[in-house]
Amino acid sequence: MQPLLHLENISKRYGSVRVLDGIDIAVADNEFLTILGPSGSGKTTILRIIGGFESIDGGRLMFDGRDLAAVPINRRPFNTVFQDYALFHHMSVAENIGYGLKVRGRPKAEIATRVADVLETVGLGAFGARYPAQLSGGQRQRVALARAIICEPRMILLDEPLSALDVDLRAQMQRFLKSLQRRLGIAFVFITHDQEEAIALSDRIVVVNHGRIEQEGAPEQLYRRPRTPFIAAFLGENNLLSGVLAAVDGQLGQVDTAAGRLVATADGPLPALGQAVQVAVRPEHITLSPASAATRDALTAEVADIRFLGANILIELTHPALPDTVLKVRRLADGSAADFRTGQKLNLSWAVHDAALLVPGG
């Protein structure tokens, strides 16, 4: 099926600095796609390229089978919600929202009806006559959204739209965005550096780092099967242990680490023997048992700290052969962890399929 929007092998330079390299993203009709990355990763540049605010140095940008290279910003068939909302402060809410129709020369009566409709859609029915300065952050956000959807584009771009909101409001706006996207049935291309937000909202996530795509997939897939140490550390929490690939058996690899030999499961193709790899294990996947019960493949570590975090207990352990690493283990705070104490030696173990074998830089 032909994607709605297709970025084909896009590259971009600022002077001699390569900010984007071989970016390939396909956005399907009706999809909530998130481009996730730390600041400076190039994610905003990708959005600005789609919007037409930045040129490209290589590759192709296709929308609905049409090359957008020669299409200027104001002719591109989608709209943007800007990070700072970019509302026009000298116009009322209704004028802001109706702007896209007004510059297209639509009749006044039609603009009024459609503005009223869209105001209703974003839950700002009574606010048309107000000015942006009289609104709260969340309300301005809704105005910016309304302004972007009034021309009924098949896709909108959202540049970190929730980053200026406080935590409660952000959770509320996340639910609203998701339900709006389903109701409108259009594609959302959403930029964020917040991995929790990305996981909560997206149908699919593209993780960008240093101007390249690190990995893409459904949120659960990325969380469960990270392919690189960056993804493993960036999405949720992970224990990362460095080592060298010593033996291979199917998708299983044996890794020699400073703490001994560990077995881990690779998601993609396995690297060559002798290559530096990492083993990632989620804190919630580790089982703790008393050290006396000597088990094969188990690490023995000493409890350094126990932290009560409400629903969870976080146990931090140190291993003599891993001086720079704090091993983290999470337990539900249901009383089962009550007998752990600082200084105690414990065995750490996990199921082989819960240990991910990662290739740095791959």
Partner: protein, 267 residues
């Protein structure tokens, strides 16, 4: 917290008072003398009773009225032209590559920083060289050269404060460059445009030195005043000076109000 230093406090206060008196006494004297003329009877100096006679004489003086008309025409055209030019320069500066922008910055400001006598002389020579006869047009050109930097500064600051995102949002919503300018950029810059215009008008209205060089047979109000002083003092001068003072003060207050409302908008 206020430190107690009575000596320094009173010294500062005293200096301030002396400074203000020195600044304003001559101005106040002119205003007072325009209503109460000095009389000299058998060597005794005294004041005539209150009279509007100098103002009446001023209104009856056709030369002064025509000079005033010239000044108003010049100031209006020069400030509008400067505003348009300054806007164009400012738009260029925010979009231009760094090197070109900087070069333009220097070129715009140079005529303002140069001594006016140099600017005036340079313009005079240039007009002579290209055989451009001196008159209203040359006065306006001279004023524009001098005023543009001031307006440019005011406009540029506001434009840079606006940033790119409003322009981008407007284009993103399908507006053309022209629609963006008319519906978004200019309305957002309105306070800066008005205060720039007022400032330009005030400067043009008072400009004397450059005007002297390029005026030819045209006479603006400051030049008329200058000419009247050379042939001897007449009471109308006080009246005229008072009116110019009032007018300039009014513009200054207007600019102050504009900039305050602009500050409130921005915050």
């Amino acid at each position: 917290m206020k430190q107690k230093a009575p000596f320094i406090d009173s010294l500062l206060g005293f200096t301030a008072v002396v400074g203000l008196v020195a600044l304003y006494a001559p101005l106040i004297a002119v205003v007072v003398l325009s209503f109460f003329q000095i009389t000299r009877l058998r060597g005794v100096i005294g004041f005539a009773p209150f009279s509007l006679e100098p103002y009446a004489a001023l209104v009856a003086n056709h030369e002064i009225l025509s000079a005033l008309a010239t000044s108003l025409t010049v100031a209006t055209i020069a400030s509008l032209a400067s505003l348009v030019l300054a806007l164009m320069f400012a738009f260029y500066f925010v979009t231009a590559r760094r090197g070109f922008g900087l070069l333009m910055q220097v070129m715009v400001f140079l005529p303002f920083l140069l001594p006016p006598i140099i600017t005036g002389l340079a313009l005079l020579i240039a007009f002579r060289e290209i055989d451009f006869s001196r008159g209203l047009a040359t006065v306006i050109i001279g004023h524009v050269v001098f005023i543009v930097p001031v307006v440019y500064r005011t406009v540029l600051v506001r434009l840079q404060l606006l940033g790119r995102s409003l322009t981008e949002a407007s284009l993103d919503l399908g507006a053309s460059q022209t629609q963006t300018l008319v519906h978004v950029i200019l309305p957002q810059m309105r306070p800066a445009l008005i205060s720039g215009l007022l400032l330009a008008f005030a400067i043009s209205f008072d400009e004397t030195l450059i005007t002297l060089f390029v005026a030819g047979s045209e006479t603006t109000l400051p030049i008329r005043l200058w000419a009247m002083m050379r042939v001897g003092f007449v009471p109308e001068i006080n009246a005229l000076a008072t009116l110019i003072l009032l007018f300039t003060a009014a513009i200054t207050v207007a600019i102050g109000l504009m900039q305050r409302s602009q500050g409130e908008r921005a915050s």
